[in-house]
Amino acid sequence: MSLGARVAVRRGSLTLDVEVAVADGEVLAVLGPNGAGKSTLLRALAGLLPVDEGRVVVDGATWDDDGTHLPPHRRPLGVVFQDALLFPHLTVGENVEFGLRTRGVGRHERRTAAASWLARVGLDGLGDRRPAQLSGGQAQRAALARALVGDPSLLLLDEPLSALDARTRLVVRAELRRHLGDFAGSTVLVTHDPVDAMALADRVVVVEEGRVVQAGTPDEVNRRPRTDYVARLVGLSLLAGTGEGSTVRLDGGGTVSVAEEASGPVFAAVRPESVALYLARPEGSPRNVWPARLAGATPHGATVRCELAGEVPLVAEVTATAFAELGLAPGAEVWATVKASEVAVYRR
């Protein structure tokens, strides 16, 4: 069945009011900057934080509503926290068994279930270790096994990969994707990393300052960001304006030529790699040409990301060779060009 929830919580300066719905077997990513209220949402769903207003319904059972508050230990859920948080005084196996033990499962059955889950997450034979003897990736795998062994209706993942180093994260992310594919219940994944959201989720909601600012498939969010935060995350320059046929008049001044006809309030999104830089104004060809000043440049592998200030603020990504040939330094005056066909236009 599913999760349906509206969670309104006021805590200090944060006012969270978010509505989410997740089908069975579906993974919803809650993407947002630090302090947006993502973790608050997760704690409220888990019952660790009282909901001021709203409701939480899982598989038809009401967990939270006016006057109803199912305490966390009565909710059939599994949670994986950022720092694994394996109980340090128990072995890895005892950690995985913990939820079964509190629910009165017999010793033998517990052992078997824990061993089978440890094998599933690739920790075969490590059940007798202490959590301190595991690597970060292993600890997070054990935490996942601990959360899933009780066959929960709802799985909550709170930044499950962000404490891992880059290489481990890649491996664990792929494994997590497989386990989430096998999981029959609903999953809510909280993250500030768009890669996690894109790789693991079926749908994404973007939360900023306690509100949902965008919802859609990972692909939609990736291609058509609706806020500067999301645009930066997915590496696009987002320009807000008004469509007037094949031109978009930007709110901040200037115009953009686009390939598709557009009208009314729209966003124009430009990919950094489709921006070309010149020292002199290029001639001919129907494209967008804007004067700009190089505000900053950061090397990014074989390319350099250039922050451009001017009437139309953009990010350009040029090869390190091109950057060197242009002899650019911060403060340099350049011309930025983008083909009309490279600009994505969509309704605001």
């Binding site: 704690r43 888990a46 019952g47 660790l48 305490p71 966390p72 230990h73 009565r74 909710r75 859920l77 599994g78 949670v79 926290f81 720092d83 948080l85 109980f87 340090p88 005084h89 128990l90 913990f98 939820g99 509190t102 629910r103 301190a132 601990r146 959360a147 009780g150 909550l156």
Partner: protein, 267 residues
């Protein structure tokens, strides 16, 4: 270790008072050892009253520690974890015996639990139980004085423990009592152990509240510190020997604390 050896020199204004401080703390103990009548130690220890007083001291201090654990650990949990109103007032009240002169504690206990006391009178009328001047009174006096040490130590351990583990336990189906037993208590066990040892040592040395509330009757209420004080009046050598025994027990406690618990407390 090696850093302390190769580290910068200690400035004289700090070094000299520090050295004097060490001397001040250690010299009296050395004096005790020097003045001890070593030739007659065995004889003195074999005296009938000594074994009795030592046994009574250890038994009553142990009972006081157990009582403190039963009452003090839950109290520490309430102070560290609950959100009840007036918690800071409660904490202040609990720590009063730490700063209160023990003899005042003894008088207070007497007024409440004595035969004319509010609770003591009722106990006497209803059950015929009289507390003052019994071994039970020794245990109560020691608990009154020593329990705050345990509470403060355990509360500190609870505050230092990561409460997120308790959240994890809750999401794994553990109610608060189960969480306390299976997660919180094992995680703060080193703090509880250290607090218990501190509490035991304090109870073992208790004098003022005990002599006020329980009196000084050999066999029932005369603990080692009381025996030492009494011996000093009539037989200083015996007092020294008894003091040596207490010193040995204290040092043994300290070693135990260091090797058995504090060493393991570091994960």
């Amino acid at each position: 270790m090696s850093r302390a050896r190769t580290g910068p020199r200690i400035p004289a204004p700090l070094l000299i008072p520090a050295a004097l401080g060490v001397a001040f703390l250690v010299l009296p103990l050395v004096g005790l050892l020097v003045r001890a009548p070593w030739s007659s130690v065995a004889e003195q220890l074999a005296a009938p009253g000594v074994g009795q007083a030592l046994r009574l001291s250890i038994v009553s201090a142990t009972l006081a520690t157990l009582l403190s654990l039963v009452l003090g650990v839950p109290l520490a949990w309430v102070l560290a974890r609950s959100r009840i109103r007036g918690r800071s007032v409660l904490r202040a009240l609990v720590t009063v015996p730490l700063v209160l002169p023990p003899v005042v504690g003894g008088v207070a206990l007497f007024l409440v639990l004595g035969r004319q006391g509010i609770v003591g009178g009722w106990l006497d009328d209803t059950f015929g139980i009289t507390i003052p001047f019994t071994t039970a009174a020794v245990v109560i006096a020691e608990t009154f004085v020593a329990m705050p040490f345990l509470v403060v130590s355990v509360e500190g351990a609870l505050r230092a423990a990561d409460a997120r583990f308790e959240d994890v336990a809750a999401t794994l189906g553990a109610d608060r009592w189960t969480t306390f037993r299976r997660v919180t208590l094992p995680m703060v066990a080193p703090g509880v152990a250290a607090g218990a040892v501190l509490c035991w040592a304090r109870a073992l040395g208790e004098f003022g509240a005990t002599i006020t509330f329980a009196g000084n009757f050999p066999g029932t209420t005369q603990t080692m510190p009381l025996a030492v004080y009494l011996a000093l009046q009539r037989d200083p050598e015996a007092a020294i020997v008894l003091s040596l025994v207490l010193l040995a027990v204290s040092l043994a406690t300290l070693l135990l604390l260091r090797d058995r618990w504090l060493g393991r407390a570091v994960p």
